[in-house]
Amino acid sequence: MSTAAIEARLTELWETPKTVHGWFATVDHKELGRRYLVTALLFLIIGGVEALIMRVQLARADQTVLSPEVYDQIFTMHGVTMIFWYASPILSGFAIYLIPLMIGARDMAYPRLNAFTYWSFLLSGILLYVGPFMGQAPHAGWFAYLPYTGIKYSPSHGMDFYALALIFLTISTTGGAINFIVTILRLRAPGMLISRMPLFLYSTLTISVVILFALPSLTVACVFLELDRHWGTHFFSVAGGGTPVLWQQLFWFFGHPWVYVIFLPATGMLSMIIPAFSRRPIVGYPYVAMATILTGLVGFSVWLHHMFTIGLSDMAMGFFSAGSMMISVFTTVQIFAWVATIWRGRPVLTTSMYFALGSIALLVVGGLSGVYTGIIPVDWQVHSTYYVVAHIHYVLIGANVFPVFAGFYYWLPKMTGRKLNETLGKWSFWVMFLSFNAGFFPMHNLGLLGMPRRIFTYKEGLGWQGTNMLVTIGAFALGVGILLSIINVFISLRSGKIAGKNPWNSDGLEWESESPPKPYGSIHLPTVASRHPLWDDHDEEEDPANDRVLDQGRLTVITTWLDAEPKAIATIAKDTLAPLILAIAIFVFLSPLYSKCFG
């Protein structure tokens, strides 16, 4: 059969028709990955606007832009949106789009589950935002401590929206994690041994396992909260023999591993981008891979450091303080590997590399302030102050937003077929980097001066005014920097330079496919012979007898999980509406809540 005939046949098998039905029924990982990215970015913008509103209120002393109640709701929505509906889903978006291309598979292991996780992610986000539009937003911060969130102090349905939307989201996230694990372990191209896997796969695999074991704790906590609020149980009420600390234990047992869930894949992206632009393989590949796995593992033994001020035993605090410091060692291993890679390589300073370098700088600042706060007496001093706010933003913006932007400048040409404008991109980087530091570094100072987090205003004469004004200006400028990159995306979609298959001469298998990739990926399922498929002398698609085309149906190859020996042929599900219907069914199942709000 000629190549053209094979292509036509594969296209017919894999292409989703451009109809309304096709739009809702698609299970194509590229389409779903794109939607994940767009949706998560929308949540970033929503959360960002909320942050800016807060900064207007705090710009000067005794402002009255927001009432205390509204301020509480806005900072809660900001935190919940950013941490749950932006930071993790944006990384899932990259993973869903890229992983099948990186491993040479035709789709994810469970395409229908993939579609379901997207729809339930979207609908849970909508559920979260139904509340605020009915004037019933959660108002107790993203970690929602009892007893404030109990029915007595939070009689509105805001906390119910919080709990139910989170339970809904955990279903989506868990499904996605199972999908990643099986995809990464079973669908790798023949020859892509576990020791040749791109590092992004190591980080995604690690966080997927972490999700499986950490997320149920959040589900349990939210179920207990709802039972206590509406069914009169006594998990958190001291009078009935419960304790509010149970919430804290359950929440942080989930919460701290979650920090690594939204951090590790971003470091995995840096471990792909930095070597590509340093023109050499990463230094210490096995150490970076092991550091990634160990971060995920040790991430389970640090959660008590969020609770040093509640009166724990010295023994427990000592153990968890040590754990918190130990985990920084693994992050340091990664950072040194990146620095050594740049040092020993010939760095090419593209916009993507700018963001990667900026990310390293911010991550070091955020990591160090994290080590400080892991020390118990320091924690007692700065607990619940702006110091912690500065720390969390350095870590999350430094190690999530900046790598994500590096990822966009790096991989968007693959997704759209067009490059982004480098000049505008570098402007965007410098505006973001400088304004971020101008806006968030002074927060350390505010914290040490004693400004508590989550206050809606402050008195004049405390010496906080000028710094707060600076923070507000920085926050707005950061918004401008992000806006520049968004404008850049739209410009590139219209008139960007055509990227071609491999615009950066990178090593990963994802650059083997067309830009944008064909619905089926590559015609011949690739084989891999080294850690850097496109840099070595091996032709991945060398297949003269068409032995690796698999055009009898929607098929891909299953390999063994360590050695990636071809083992079997897997069928891939067709487009279907079932995932959407199931997600809507769950949304409707939770409808008593919002009907209660109306009535």
């Binding site: 079973r186 149980t233 001291v238 419960g242 149970l246 084989t527 012979a529 032995d547 071809p566 042929i569």
Partner: protein
């Protein structure tokens, strides 16, 4: 490029590979891992609340004989299902289906027994009594919910027309469904140990 290495071309053909049949099982292991973590958290909450004797009002430990009868019932169901799975693997699909039906009936029997247990237990303890009651009923109800999900999966498997070799998914519904069922049984063993046996030992022992 510093990493350029000469590598021999390796011939890989995908023409004669069998159809893959285990993705359902793979996903089920993921589900089991996360559900195990769920019960781990529930037991953790049980111990955490019970750690402070001042607030832990377990006046009388739950009667153990109900739980043991229910355990025997569930273990029987697992054994029957396992036998059925073996039959299916040997190609005896009809007896496999009968075993599935029997398992489902035993499963409903378990739920009935649990209803009796609740009715009896409710006289001395309710979820509204105290934190012990809350966590006791929450854990056992979570287990019952998982059992109901297991029953739904088994009923779905019961009505799947084919257990044998096939080119369409689900490939091995029997295997996947029974894996989940055995997990739900295993959880009950832990519940019996933690919620029933240990409190009785601590009172009587």
């Amino acid at each position: 490029m510093s990493s350029a290495t000469q590598l021999p071309t390796r011939f890989v053909s995908l023409r004669d590979l069998p159809v893959e049949e285990h993705r359902g099982r793979d996903a089920m292991w993921g589900v089991i891992a996360t559900e195990a973590a769920l019960f781990f958290c529930l037991f953790g909450a049980y111990f955490y609340l019970g750690n402070d004797k001042a607030r832990w009002s377990i006046n009388q430990p739950p009667k153990i004989y109900y739980a043991l009868i229910m355990l025997a019932v569930l273990l029987t169901s697992s054994a029957v299902l396992h036998w059925g799975e073996k039959q299916v693997k040997r190609g005896l699909y009809a007896s496999g289906r009968k075993a599935l039906l029997a398992t489902i009936l035993i499963g409903f029997g378990f739920l009935a027994l649990q209803a009796f247990e609740y009715l009896d237990h409710w006289k001395t303890l309710t979820p509204y009594s105290n934190s012990y009651g809350s966590i006791f009923y929450t854990i056992t109800t979570f287990h019952a919910a998982h059992l109901i999900v297991g029953l739904l999966i088994l009923i779905y498997a019961l009505f799947i027309p084919r257990y044998g070799p096939t080119l369409e998914s689900p490939f091995r519904p029997y295997e996947t469904a029974s894996l989940y069922w055995h997990f739900v049984d295993l959880v009950w063993i832990f519940i019996v140990l933690i919620l029933y046996v240990i409190p009785n030992l601590m009172v009587h022992g």
